[in-house]
């Protein structure tokens, strides 16, 4: 932008005009914020109001526009002026709809907002997207040639992206290809079918855009999305190639059955796992391993390790349907045989219920809820299974020729990083203990998110699931891998700021190599050179600005978001002192509220919509993420005479709601260091408080704000006021 021309447009609609003295507001915009052109309009978002602004853009060359009207969350189409810097001052929800009209403090609040956004617009610049120096690779690496990996590879290739598919085994297909038959996945959901993964293998092999590397594992991955150099070990030979993004579909391994002694594993060769059963069925004969006889009674024990805090603290999802299927194998192989399934709960969700009913209708398939208490050897080379609380009686003992343990799945990421990233923050996906080792996210709305940009997990490495679900899951992960490439190519952030063209641009001369940014970045986007100086891998960055919050030297800047921009906003406040006030009046407090823009800010808007009364002494500023909260803002605000600072962030902990995973938690962590800052200033720690607030908790806001203001009142005014 060559010459910046500022204008402020003040809207009088929606009760704003009735609540405020516009003459005074315009004076602040003109004299203090120095926004050259200042205009009022009765309804700024109306076609007439917008036309007024467009005329000024065309005729006056206005290119920096302050809209003092409603929340930026509404009327976004109306107040979109391409090529201009637009800042929205929320005088409706945060002032007119939540404050007493024509009140001195209401007026002061609105004027402060004009000052703050006036300071901000002076410093904001239009973004210029990040340009990679090298051309990015649009190849997608798929790790794992099972159900999820095969479908990810196939659909990515069909959309025109070259794929390298690596599989550690000699054959494609994973466990799905080792099955005799698969449970039904299509209407009428009653018939067993050929494992669908077999057809997928053929399709992948016929697809020219997919390079299949079997007998291959990833040894190292370095660089960043778009420019990831992958070294693989391919049957003993190392090879390095470049890819853009990754689908992690490395799958599962069976739970170690030797740990299931209580269920008789190891007691007799006739106690087998569901995988052994599958292998027998595939080989055409279901026989007792001990003597090769055809079993007459087969007992299936469900949850062999699953749903047990001592073994697997989760349900493996596929095993109920798998045992029903194997019961049918037993019946088909020997029409006189009885298959008995002992379960905690039969879990055949959705259409699988039809298959459950179908299997139940076979008179030779018997099912009972049971708590299995033990498996013993019994006379006649048989096994005795004892159980409690069954549909057949309190305590039962069943004689069996063969016992099948329905063992569960363990994600391969439990004890192997698989990705082998050469990243400062480690070789695998972080914090997987939250998900029992699965490469999962905790975002219900955005299931493919991981904390390593450009790497998307799919299938059983992500969650326990059956083959059909894994195949669908692979397609979604492939889309995310493609989308990340397209965004990286044009310098746009990926989820959750998929529109953002800004990126961190640090002023490195002032870096002290303290490494806080490299440690705190939730996405591992910052590396260090040999001298320990951090540098960004921008394509890994999600633009949460956690680095900006971490940096004690305040050197991290985005075009529209920086320590300086925020600091300028905080310093622009008008903080009344005793000199400004009549003798008998109290000096009003001034407080700052820094709030998460995705959750707390909409909650404030909702409070406005519900016309709740919010405390007038707090000025709210949205943050990209609470992780971007920099302690220096506390000094900025307090040295200005501000009396308190309230932070409204997302819930943190195991069920964190932060869409950058760590933001509010890091903010809380930084606050533990706050007393140092405040001690230096001689101020009380209670003047700064972090409150976790969900977007839906708008109704709690009045109380939260009032009690914070009360606390600060108790402490008393900031002694720096007026200094």
């Amino acid at each position: 932008m060559e010459e910046r021309k500022y204008a402020a447009y003040l809207c009088k609609g929606c009760g704003i005009g009735a609540a405020l003295k516009f003459g005074d507001l315009a004076k602040v915009a003109t004299r203090e914020a120095k926004l050259g052109l200042v205009k009022e309009h009765d309804v700024l978002c109306s076609p007439e109001g917008l036309e007024m602004i467009r005329q000024d853009i065309a005729n006056e060359g206005i290119n920096c526009i302050l809209i003092a009207a409603c929340s930026p969350r509404v009327k976004f189409e109306e107040f979109d002026f391409p090529g201009c810097i637009v800042e929205r001052v929320n005088l409706r929800e945060l002032v007119a709809w939540t404050q007493d009209p024509e009140d001195k403090e209401t007026q002061a609040l609105a004027e402060d907002y004009i000052r703050m956004y006036g300071a901000k617009i002076k410093k904001v610049e239009l973004p210029e997207p990040y340009k990679n120096e090298e051309e990015i690779s649009k190849t997608i690496l798929v790790i794992g040639g099972g159900a999820a990996g095969l479908s990810a590879a196939l659909f990515a290739a069909r959309n025109g992206y070259p794929v390298v598919l690596v599989e550690k085994e000699a054959q494609l297909g994973g466990y799905g290809a080792k099955l005799h038959r698969a449970t039904p996945t299509s209407y009428p959901f009653t018939q067993l079918q050929e494992p669908p993964v077999l057809a997928k293998i053929k399709e992948v092999q016929a697809e020219p855009n997919i390079r299949v590397l079997t007998g291959t594992q990833v040894v190292k991955m370095e660089g960043q999305p778009g420019l990831l150099d992958v070294t693989v070990n391919h049957n003993g030979n190392e090879e390095t190639f470049r890819v853009g993004t990754v689908v992690l579909a490395a799958g599962w391994k069976p739970y170690d059955a030797t740990k299931l002694e209580k269920l008789g594993y190891g007691l007799s060769p006739d106690v087998i796992t569901n995988l052994q059963m599958e292998e027998m069925a595939r080989n055409g004969k279901i026989l007792r391993p001990s003597d090769g006889k055809v079993p007459e009674t087969v007992v299936f024990i469900q949850c062999a390790g699953q749903r047990d805090p001592e073994h697997l603290p989760y349900c493996s999802d596929f095993c109920c349907a798998a045992s029903l299927k194997q019961a049918l194998y037993v019946r088909q192989a020997n029409p006189n045989a009885v298959a008995m399934i002992l379960y905690k709960d039969i879990r055949t969700p959705g259409h699988l219920e039809m298959f459950y009913k179908e299997a139940q209708s076979d008179p030779g398939v018997m099912l009972t809820k049971a708590e299995v208490t033990g498996v013993e050897l019994a006379p006649g080379a048989k096994l005795k299974v004892t159980a409690q609380n069954t549909l057949l009686g309190e305590n039962i003992a069943l004689e069996a020729d063969l016992v099948v343990l329905a063992t569960g799945m363990v994600p391969v990421t439990l004890d192997n990083p698989i990705l082998n990233l050469d990243y400062r923050q480690g070789p695998g996906l972080p914090d997987l203990d939250l998900f029992n080792g699965f490469a999962d996210s905790n975002f219900i709305c955005f299931p493919y998110e991981t904390r390593r940009t450009g790497i998307y997990a799919a299938g059983t490495v992500r969650q326990p699931m059956g083959m059909a679900m894994a195949m669908d899951d692979g397609v979604g992960a492939a889309l995310k891998a493609i989308q990340a490439l397209e965004h990286i190519e044009i310098g746009m952030a990926v989820h959750p700021r998929a529109w953002d063209e800004t990126f961190p641009d640090p002023f490195m001369q002032r870096c002290t190599q303290c490494k806080r940014c490299t440690e705190e970045c939730p996405f591992g986007a910052i590396e260090e050179d040999e001298k320990g100086t951090p540098f960004y891998k921008i394509n890994r960055c999600r633009r949460c600005a956690t680095c900006m919050g971490a940096c004690p030297e305040r050197i991290v800047n985005f075009k529209d978001y920086s320590v300086d921009i925020m600091g300028s906003m905080l310093k622009s406040l008008d903080v009344p002192t005793e000199d400004d006030i009549e003798d008998d009046e109290e000096v009003p407090l001034r407080l700052i509220g820094l709030v998460c823009e995705n959750d707390a800010y909409p909650a404030l808007d909702a409070a406005g919509l519900h016309r709740l009364r919010l405390n007038p002494l707090i000025r709210f500023v949205p943050l990209r993420c609470m992780g971007s909260f920099n302690l220096v803002w506390v000094s900025d605000a307090f040295s200005r005479g501000v009396d308190g600072m309230l932070l409204l962030g997302c819930k943190y902990g195991d069920d964190y709601q932060c869409h950058f995973a760590k933001g509010s938690e890091l903010c809380a962590y930084r606050l533990t260091k706050l007393s140092e800052t405040l001690d230096k200033l001689g101020l009380e720690a209670d003047r700064v408080q972090l409150v976790q607030l969900a977007i839906s908790e708008y109704d709690k806001l009045p109380e939260i704000l009032n009690s914070f203001v009360e606390r600060v009142k108790e402490i008393g005014p900031n002694p720096f006021k007026g200094m």
Binding site: C45, P349, I444
Partner: protein
């Protein structure tokens, strides 16, 4: 990707439709969303919290809406229903009927029309638990934030008080229905699901017995933007219930009603038990189930709820739900499947864990599609270039719906590029 046949039409603006649309648009496609209701967000907008994190769905919706605001490749139409489709992959001609909102883009959501409006309507957003004015905002976080006038509820004899009250010229009672036509290359069906009409299961007492509600009504009672401001109060006397029964498989896994399992109801009832327990440390919840289905890592959520002394998980089939004579309490008769004994217990409130029915059961899509007898789309038999997502094919939870919708976005992109 800008020509018409590179456009994707997404039918349905609920969570899976939004996800499909956004994932396709952020990958380069032009996307049009049609939604039959006056707002986007669908069923999840009515949920108080998601399981298992107990986080508010509006948080994720906020991100989705921001993605829409920031993305020039997406357009959406509310109150819009697809009425006709002709053509084939790469070249579908789609006709969309848009019902009048009677409120134009000048609306600022100031509430003056609702204040002036003398007529009331049953509030469908709150599943009939309260009423709203005929001029109304569907709910506080509605996107777009625009009022709508229910002309069926509007008596029309007030002399257009709403139009008079609006200072912005936003009310237009003469607004006419519109017919839009689009040319698109592929179509993603994301019409979602409805609750089964549980009054058909007579023995469960819905509509016949006071204080028998559905699980979705329970969501609205617990939501701070719901009919009771987030306080769980039973409908008959607005008192907080001390003893609540949750009846699982209400309609589901029943040959006479829904032969399938609805997937979400076990987790939903466990979650709702936490709503109750959070509000009242003395309240008791009993969950009557056939099988507790908390697949995958949801197991741990079940453990957490089970560990609460005031939550009882009881294996048993509810045989009857009746009014307690002379009171508003509810008598539940349960057959314990383990010992066959019948148990009768009195509750203050009964929540029926009602199953899901695909929306296409009532309103088939205007294309010759193949459906299961239960109304689910049979995906293998869809025409080329048409994709169905999530609960249109099978009962699912939100997370799995979003996975499926993300995959559908890729399938639609492939069908565009392959033509």
């Amino acid at each position: 990707m800008s020509s018409d046949n590179n456009k994707v039409l997404v039918v349905g603006g609920g969570m899976s439709g939004l996800t499909a649309a956004l994932e396709a648009a952020e990958s380069g496609a032009q996307v049009i969303i049609t939604e039959k209701l006056p707002y986007l967000g669908g069923r999840v907008a009515q949920l108080h919290r998601y399981f298992p994190k107990l986080c508010p769905p509006t948080c994720g919706l906020e991100i989705q809406f921001r993605r829409i605001r920031e993305n020039p490749r997406i357009t959406f139409h509310t109150l819009a229903e697809v009425t006709g489709v002709t053509g084939s992959v790469g070249d579908f001609q789609v006709t969309v009927q848009v019902k009048p909102r009677y409120v134009n883009d000048r609306c600022v959501a100031c509430n003056a029309c609702a204040e002036a409006c003398p007529a009331w309507r049953v509030n469908d957003f709150n599943y009939g638990l309260d009423k709203s004015k005929a001029a109304y905002l569907p709910f506080d976080m509605a996107f777009p934030q625009k009022y709508v006038i229910d002309r069926e509820a509007c008596t029309g004899d007030c002399g257009a008080k709403c139009a008079e009250a609006c200072q912005y010229g936003a009310v237009d009672l003469n607004m006419a229905p519109q017919t839009l036509t689009f040319q698109v290359g592929s179509i993603i069906l994301a019409a979602g699901w409805e609750l089964y009409d549980i009054s058909k299961v007579d023995y469960l007492g819905f509509g016949r017995v006071n204080n028998v509600i559905t699980n979705m009504q329970m969501e609205r009672l617990a939501a701070s933007n719901g009919p009771t401001g987030g306080k769980i109060l039973r409908p008959s006397d607005q008192r907080p219930p001390k003893k609540v029964a949750f009846v699982q498989c209400a309609g589901s896994r029943d040959e006479n009603h829904l032969p399938y399992c609805s997937y979400i109801c076990c987790m939903a009832s466990l979650k709702q038990a936490t709503y109750l327990r959070e509000q009242d440390p003395e309240a008791q919840a009993s969950i009557f189930y056939i099988d507790l289905r908390t697949p995958g890592r949801y197991e741990q959520f079940m453990w957490k709820v089970r560990d609460d002394e005031n939550v009882k998980l009881i294996r048993g089939k509810v045989a009857k739900v009746d009014q307690e004579p002379g009171s508003d309490n509810v008598v539940v008769t349960v057959e314990n499947t383990l010992d066959g004994k019948k148990l009768r217990e009195v509750f203050d409130l009964v929540v029926l864990a009602v199953g899901m029915v695909p929306s296409t059961k009532q309103n088939p899509f205007p294309l010759p599609l193949s459906y299961t007898p239960e109304g689910f789309v049979i995906p293998e038999l869809l025409p080329e270039g048409v994709f169905a997502v999530a609960s249109m094919k099978s009962p699912l939870d939100v997370m799995k719906s979003n996975e499926d919708a993300t995959g559908a976005a890729l399938k639609s992109l492939i069908s565009l590029s392959r033509r």
